[in-house]
């Protein structure tokens, strides 16, 4: 994870079961699972194993993991499940998420709608540093951004990807890089691979 002096930049943590929780849900973005990670999580979550469900998103279907394991194909399936789950979760429940930053915040936002507050959620960043970028000018979201400057998927302007982050949008701010001197675009770096 990258460090930033900008205080809107979230910080992430290692996942640890909160023993005070009643039900536990672990949501993992499959592409961020390195060899041995599921085994390590199984050890870590052993104390709550019988109250734990694990949603593996886009992971090889052979993988087993801690608690009762469910395989989901895509992020959108997670969001759909939350949207349908208005009755089943309460204040005592705990959510743990591992994934890239856009994944973490999409899941957090969907969970917050059914009542998961910040104190019930733990986020662990893993895998690519790629970002979701919000265009300040046309408000379009550009996904999977790994470069320091990216053309906006909406208006096409070249956006400098800043560290300023909105949890509500799950996105970083993008600001036109050459507004003051049209066409003067600095070298583009692969900053968030």
């Amino acid at each position: 994870m990258m460090h930033s002096d900008i205080t809107s930049r979230p910080t992430y943590r290692a996942l640890e079961p909160d023993l005070a929780g009643s039900k536990h849900l672990l949501v993992i973005e499959g592409e961020t699972l390195l060899t041995g990670r599921l085994e390590a999580l199984t050890d870590t979550f052993a104390p709550v194993n019988d109250k734990l469900h694990t949603w593996l998103v886009g992971a090889p279907t052979a993988s087993s993991g801690p608690g009762k394991v469910w395989h989901l194909e895509k992020l959108v399936d997670v969001l759909d499940l939350f949207a349908c789950a208005t009755r089943d979760y309460g204040m005592g429940d705990r959510l743990y998420v591992q994934g890239t930053e856009p994944f973490l915040w999409s899941v957090t936002t969907a969970a917050s709608i059914i009542g998961f507050g910040p104190n019930q959620v733990q986020l662990h960043h893993a895998g690519s540093l790629r970002r979701r970028v919000w265009c300040t000018h046309c408000h379009t979201l550009t996904e999977n951004v790994t470069a320091s400057i990216v053309p906006c998927a909406g208006c096409g302007r070249h956006l400098l990807v800043r560290d300023h982050f909105s949890r509500r949008l799950g996105a970083f701010m993008g600001v036109m890089i050459d507004a003051e001197a049209p066409g003067a675009i600095p070298a583009i770096e692969e900053a968030f691979a």
Binding site: D5, S8, W134, T136, H164, P182
Partner: protein, 361 residues
């Protein structure tokens, strides 16, 4: 007291905005010393201060009508400049009441408020003479106004407004009317906590400024508003320097030369006040913007000289953050001609009652 409004002036296009001599003399010049650095410069918002603008809690000046029109133009182009999260309705009514009561008490020739009672359910009648508005409505019933109460009253006020909800020992920016901002996006920031929306500000976090300020604001009391001045620079007298429209005004920064800097470069001062709201316990945060060109400011010799010194010693991180990098050398070349190096008294007062002639005259 009569105010000679300038209803035709503009803050875009031909930029016909101008300050009268009286407006220059009451400008809230923000630099008491020759150097500037961030501090927790919060003080009680009493009806007194080094400029006339402090005499009334919500200052109305000669630009009132034109500023309200500019806001309407910006909202027409981008309705997202007004946002209020659903739980903020009580704070909306608090804000409407605060503004209507203060404006009608301080400017009886311009505004009047007639109430059949103080509580929700009472019929109120609001008259705004400069804008030609008369509106009868039921206080607490949003359906009796043409739009939400916060939008309604802030369309008739100068300056931007944010409302911060207080919970979990923090402040959350959960509503705003923001059409005259110094390069921050309400659409991006709405719902953020105090530390988050101040995230991009350099140096001040490390100095602990925001922690102390937040602690102070959480204790803010009803009837005891506080204030601070903030500042930046703008090219042309443009209110809408939002990130949304940066592609429109960004190129102006490349247009400044030592010859035109006096006209083009403006000091942009924000009178930021903070008010505890009575029913919602939220905090209203009005940000009232004053614009003066270098040419205006140099007509007060103390201000022209001091601005030269402040800007030439500004930490590089602040030059970058405030977006001055491209034109600061040209502005300083212009200002240096107005600074003889004489020692200046501490304080922001103009120290004169008449202005020197305009450089461009």
């Amino acid at each position: 007291m009569t105010i000679a409004f300038k209803p035709e002036e503009t803050f875009r296009g031909d930029y016909s905005y101008r300050n009268s001599d009286a407006a220059i003399l009451r400008f809230p010049f923000p630099f008491p010393e020759d150097k500037y650095m961030y501090s927790v410069n919060i003080e009680p918002h009493t009806r007194s201060g080094p400029s006339d603008i402090f005499l009334r809690p919500f200052d109305v000046d000669e630009h009132y009508i034109a500023e309200c029109r500019d806001r309407a133009i910006t909202l027409e182009r981008d309705p997202g400049r007004y946002q209020a999260l659903p739980h903020m309705m009580l704070a909306q009514w608090d804000t409407l009441e605060l503004l209507m009561e203060n404006l009608s008490a301080d400017y009886p020739a311009l505004f009047s408020l007639t109430k059949e009672g103080d509580d929700f359910g009472s019929r109120w009648t609001w008259i705004n003479r400069p804008l030609g508005i008369e509106q009868s409505f039921i206080f607490g019933d949003a359906d009796t106004l043409p739009c939400e109460p916060f939008e309604y009253i802030t369309r008739q006020a100068q300056g931007d407004f944010a409302i911060c909800d207080q919970r979990d020992d923090n402040l959350y920016m959960d509503a705003g009317m923001v059409t005259a901002q110094a390069d921050w996006s309400l659409e991006f920031d709405v719902g953020m906590s105090f530390m988050e929306w101040h995230g991009p500000v350099p140096l001040a976090h490390q100095a602990g400024v925001f922690e102390r300020a937040l602690k102070y604001l959480l204790m803010l009391r009803l009837g005891q508003p506080v204030r601070r001045l903030n500042w930046t620079m703008s090219i042309n007298p443009r209110l809408d320097t939002s990130p949304e429209t940066y592609p429109e005004w960004g190129p102006d920064r490349a247009s400044v030369t030592p010859d035109n800097a006096g006209d083009k470069v403006h000091l942009r001062v924000e009178l930021q006040t903070l008010w505890r709201l009575p029913r919602s316990n939220a905090i209203l945060f009005p940000i009232r913007c004053y614009l003066a060109s270098l040419d205006d400011l140099a007509r007060v010799p103390k201000w022209g000289k001091r601005l030269n010194r402040v800007l030439s010693t500004l930490p590089p991180q602040l030059v970058e953050y405030k977006g001055l990098t491209r034109y600061l050398p040209a502005a300083l070349e212009w200002l240096a001609k107005h600074d003889d190096g004489a020692e200046l008294p501490v304080g922001t007062e103009a120290g004169v009652t008449t202005l020197t002639p305009r450089v461009s005259d």
